[in-house]
């Protein structure tokens, strides 16, 4: 069954909350956070460790449907970029869900204990 919604874990939500709390003008909407997280995962996380990527399930599982897939990657840019660097998946939509979650986890690991973090820590 094709994927239409992107879901996240409860830890992912904590990360979103932290990003939102920090500065309202880092990201205008929550879906911008999803885009950033997915690209963050492609550029900063070694995704080969999570093969098959489309089958990845975060700790505690996906607990909440958050965005429409088409809202996050309307022009297919993220999925196209992912396919340039990785091929350890079959379904690109599920892979997108995975990388959003993995990106949020990676960001969360970086900022959760850092009091004075800012966006430059993620660049």
């Amino acid at each position: 069954m094709p994927l239409s919604q992107l879901a996240i874990s409860s830890t992912n939500q904590k990360c979103i909350d932290m990003l939102k709390e920090k500065r309202k003008n880092y990201f205008e909407k929550e879906k911008d956070i999803a885009i950033f997280a997915a690209i963050y995962a492609i550029s900063k996380v070694d995704l080969t460790k999570y093969s098959p990527l489309d089958k990845y399930t975060p700790e505690g599982g996906y607990s909440e449907n958050k965005w429409h897939l088409q809202d996050v990657d309307a022009d297919n840019f993220i999925r196209e970029s992912l396919s340039l660097f990785y091929d350890n998946y079959e379904d690109q939509d599920f892979a997108l869900r995975s990388i959003v979650s993995l990106g949020l986890d990676a960001i969360y690991d970086l900022i959760k204990n850092k009091e004075n973090w800012d966006i430059s820590d993620l660049l």
Binding site: Y26, F27, F36, D75
Partner: protein
């Protein structure tokens, strides 16, 4: 003009035994300096003691004030005499003036009260001793007590003047005292008393007139009319007195409010500081807004741009693959071409260049060459895997270019983002700083409500004063109209003998009174204008080179002074330092316009003036006064600086000091 030759203290306060300040010689400035408690104030008070017999009061024993004025060391040594004496010239004559206290000859043992002392006041001109009346007259002529303020420029007097400067009303006890003194200098009390006497004479004639009228006239109708008008006049006069009283009272209240307001000047400057910090805060808020806007702009593309480096690296990596495999392909293509050429030669049997036949030997060589080239070609040939890799790289580059173009991906402006973040941090930190400052300053403004209340009260009182003044003016007009009416009626009564003579007398006195009132007003105005001119001149010298924006000072009818800038703007609240300068200018202006002009004793507190202003004040006073006796606090005034500033103007220099003995001040001439 008074000129002091020398001053002698004998057992007066800290001056043990005889201590002489010899000021004879050239005219100019005498500098007397010393530490605290060495005898500077006692010096000034000694002069006041000499002229006015002012003794310090003994709080422990009111019957024995002398004990608080005599040198304690001398007293302990049973030397019970103390005096201050002065040799001076006045209007070309030389005088010796001494005031002395010593125990009466019948005092047994140590004195116990002022009664055990006798007091001498001696003034001599050559061999001539002055009588008590002559002494009194001379003292009053030289420095009358009530106007000594214009000779002694000491902290206490300057303070009094600062009070008057802050007071625009006619009332206030201290204010009245000082203004009374100013009027004394100007000489208005003589005119006032003359006018009052004339008014009394006029009243006597008017009473006599009315009495005769009531007694002898048969014109009952007019008499009744006059009687009625007189009652009305009395009521108006009574209303006038009440209004005058209310006006004075309201002026007193306004005076108090102004005093309180001037004490709250710190609060006004706090308001100003809050305003400045608020302006800075507004600017910083704007900076923050700009930096946040810029960051937002940069972050709007940050996600895709985050991939730029990775995509670029990937493109480079694939380009390298293509370059590397591409060389191999090129080499292979070259060798294939060469083989083709050789094979062509082989077929034609004659050289296309020289046209000779190809020999068998040559044919063999070509075959060998082709074989060698074939071997090399095999080495360069891409494997299937390599060919796939090459194709894949080509595809990837195409896809990357496509992504970069489609996603509008550009290099991540990391440095700009960091800069915007730093700008935000900086602005936030400044904003916090300004907010804290404002909050601290607001804490200081606990009197804010008080100021507001005082300003409201001031407005209300000013309005009331205006109303009272209008009422007074109206009453004055009504009284004048009634008086005229009564006078006219009186003139129309013809049946009483002698009334016409009385009437003429009354009219004549009225004319004289009006003439003197005019003289008094013109005289006061003329004096005010003269004092203003002198005060203005010296004030501009005080600020010369330090504040060139000041154009002039003005003195109003109540001797309140205002400072105006070159643009004609009035400085609303001069600082304490400037008030000191204004006070000194006013004292000088008054001094200069009276017969007192001559020696000036200057012991004014200069602590609220900067070094530059202090220098200007000393320099100016020294050049203006024919004889300046300047008492300086060693720690407050840089003595070397004073000497440098005044240069040749200093004719005498004394240091007063003590060697660990508080009752033995010594004088060292330098």
């Amino acid at each position: 003009m008074i000129r002091i030759q020398n001053i002698t203290f004998y057992n007066y306060l800290p001056y043990y035994k005889e201590k002489v300040f010899d000021l004879s010689g050239k005219e100019g400035t005498t500098l007397i300096f010393g530490d605290n408690n060495m005898g500077k104030t006692s010096f000034i008070n000694g002069i006041k003691f000499l002229f006015y017999n002012t003794l310090y009061k003994n709080p422990d024993n009111p019957d024995f004030n002398i004990y608080y004025n005599i040198n304690r060391k001398a007293f302990a040594e049973k030397d019970y005499m103390f005096f201050v004496s002065l040799d001076f010239t006045y209007e070309g004559k030389e005088y010796h003036f001494i005031r002395r206290y010593r125990t009466k000859s019948d005092t047994i043992g140590s004195p116990k009260s002022d009664n055990d002392f006798e007091h001498d006041e001696i003034i001599k001109e050559g061999d001539k001793y002055f009588t008590e009346r002559e002494r009194k007259e001379l003292i009053n002529r030289i420095i009358p007590k009530n106007i000594s303020e214009f000779v002694f420029f000491d902290g206490e007097n300057v303070k009094k003047y600062i009070e008057i400067l802050n007071d625009d009303s006619d009332s206030g006890a201290e204010n009245r005292k000082v203004k009374e003194a100013i009027n004394n200098v100007i000489g208005t009390p003589y005119l006032d008393s003359l006018i009052n006497n004339l008014i009394l004479i006029k009243k006597e004639y008017t009473d006599e007139f009315d009495h005769k009228l009531q007694q002898h006239s048969k014109d009952e109708k007019k008499k009744a009319e006059i009687e009625k008008l007189l009652i009305e006049l009395k009521e108006k006069n009574s209303a006038k007195d009440t209004t005058k009283y209310l006006l004075a009272k309201t002026n007193d209240e306004l005076n108090d409010v102004d005093k309180k307001l001037s004490n709250l000047t710190r609060s006004l400057s706090v308001y100003e500081e809050i305003g400045k910090n608020q302006a800075n805060l507004d600017i910083e808020n704007q900076n923050l807004e700009n930096a946040e806007k810029k960051l937002k702009e940069l972050l709007s593309t940050v996600a895709k741009n985050l991939l730029y480096d990775k995509l670029s690296d990937e493109k480079k990596r694939n380009t390298l693959i293509i370059e590397k495999l591409g060389t191999k392909i090129n080499d292979e293509q070259k060798i294939t071409q060469e083989i083709q050429q050789l094979k062509g030669l082989y077929k034609k049997q004659e050289c296309p260049l020289c046209g000779s036949n190809i020999s068998q030997d040559q044919e063999q060589k070509i075959t060998q060459k082709i074989e060698t080239l074939q071997k090399r070609k095999n080495e360069f040939s891409l494997s299937n895997e390599e060919r796939n890799k090459y194709n894949l790289a080509k595809q990837k580059i195409e896809r990357i270019d496509n992504l970069l173009k489609r996603g509008n991906v550009s290099p991540l402006q990391r440095n700009n983002i960091i800069q915007a973040l730093l700008d935000i941090k900086m602005s936030n930190s400044k904003i916090n700083e300004y907010k804290q400052k404002i909050s601290r300053l607001k804490d200081e403004l606990k009197d804010e409500k008080t100021i507001y209340d005082l300003i409201t009260k001031r407005d209300m009182l000013t309005q009331k004063i205006k109303e009272y003044e209008e009422t007074l003016q109206k009453l004055e007009q009504e009284i004048n109209a009634l008086s005229n009416k009564i006078n006219n009626l009186r003139k129309r009564i013809k049946d009483v003998v002698g009334l016409d003579i009385l009437e003429k007398k009354i009219t004549f006195i009225e004319r004289i009174i009006n003439a003197f009132i005019n003289i008094r007003e013109n005289f006061i105005e003329e004096m005010r204008s003269k004092v203003e001119r002198e005060a203005n001149e010296i004030f501009l010298d005080f600020v010369n080179g330090l504040n060139n924006d000041i154009a002039r000072v003005e003195i109003n009818k109540n001797y309140r002074m205002s400072i105006f800038t070159r643009n004609g703007d009035k400085i609303p609240v001069p600082g304490t330092g400037y008030n000191t300068l204004l006070a000194l200018s006013l004292i000088y202006g008054l001094n200069r316009n009276t017969h007192l002009f001559g020696a000036i004793f200057f012991d004014a507190a200069l602590s609220n003036l900067s070094n530059n202003y202090t220098r200007n004040v000393i320099r100016t006073l020294s050049s203006y006064a024919p004889q300046l006796i300047f008492l300086a606090h060693k720690d407050r005034v840089d003595i070397n600086d004073v000497i440098r500033v005044l240069g040749g103007q200093i004719v005498n220099q004394f240091e007063i000091y003590q060697n660990g003995d508080a009752f033995n001040t010594n004088i060292r001439r330098l």
